[in-house]
């Protein structure tokens, strides 16, 4: 992956303060991207983010890529009859004039094959691919394993 060295440098030199970065592409706003620290690199990491579609055309998140993991996928946690499972989500709808959250207990990015353990305070880039808007990269803040969401000034908790 061509951005690997740059990304590895970013991970190693990441500041402790949260970036709380907001990026836009077309009518989409992507913000509050966060992840949880992992114990070692053997366990999968997780990716959460909030996407707002201010436009009048439905879009969909169809994939994610990151130098931090060899096999990132979109998942949806489903609790049916009290049993939790995590099926693969082919795409996550981002309807016109709506706000969609990848958040604990719902849609999430599953980061399998981590290249390194995710350390609290670090950050790493994730590139989101949308069906219509195309690709956009956001920096993801790694919070503690206990975290329930980012502590950005404008974050929806």
């Amino acid at each position: 992956m061509k951005h690997f060295l740059l990304a590895a440098a970013l991970i190693l030199s990441a500041p402790a303060v949260m970036a709380c970065e907001t990026v836009t592409i077309g009518d989409l706003t992507i913000e509050h991207a966060w992840s949880k620290a992992t114990i070692g690199a053997g366990r999968p990491g997780v990716f959460y983010v909030e996407i707002t579609n201010a436009g009048s055309v439905d879009d969909a998140l169809i994939g994610i890529a990151t130098p931090a993991a060899g096999m990132p996928m979109l998942h949806e946690t489903v609790v049916k009859d009290g049993i939790a499972s995590m099926p693969h989500a082919m795409s996550i709808p981002v309807p016109a004039d709506q706000n969609v959250q990848l958040s604990p207990g719902g849609y999430h990015g599953m980061l399998m094959g981590l290249t390194t353990a995710l350390k609290e305070g670090a950050s790493f880039p994730v590139t989101l691919s949308f069906e219509k808007a195309g690709e956009v990269t956001v920096n993801v803040d790694v919070l503690s394993l206990r975290a329930e969401g980012p502590d950005c000034a404008d974050a929806v908790q």
Binding site: K36, T38, I39, G42, R43, P44, G45, V46, T52, M71, H75, T77, V78, V79, K80, D81, G82, I83, A84, S85, M86, I92, P93, P95, D97, Q98, N99, V100, Q101, L102, S103, P104, G105, G106, Y107, H108, M110, L111, M112, S144, L145, R146, A147, E148, V156
Partner: protein
Amino acid sequence: MLGVGAYRTRKQPTRSDLLPVPIGEMTWTLTDHLGRSVRPADWAGRPVMVFFGFTWCPDVCPTTLSDISLWLEELGADADRMIVALISVDPERDTPDVLADYVSNFDQRILGLTGSADEVAQAAADFRATYRRVAKDAGDYTMDHTAGVFLFHPDGRFVSIIDFHEDRRFAVPKIRRTLS
């Protein structure tokens, strides 16, 4: 704007034929994250809160343990006598040492429990919990598992289940009812 996917809605209460048996009628033996053997009789006279999960789980399990940690913080010293345990449904990977590392990230009152495959199966049967191994690529796997949090009165009676991601306004009073 409408919020989509923020929190899943709660499911119906578990059917009564699938309720856990009283702690005193359970027959499992497990090992805690410090390597000590634990049996149901060790919990006699204590309120109990049990959750099934596994440490390779990135979403449901840390979220539930974060919720439990917040509930315990809100309850403060009132919950000190409570037995709070995560029972691993993935004993192949979740050894006592692995569990020790994991539970150290959450409220210190949370115990990690594991055992042999048969021991875990017996515990799940007693709690009427289910789990299933789901194969993924390259020999990797994940686990589907019962996501609710089981509550028991100090006399061992099953009280209720806190469903996944249940609002703290409902969860904390449910727990409080087991502490008296």
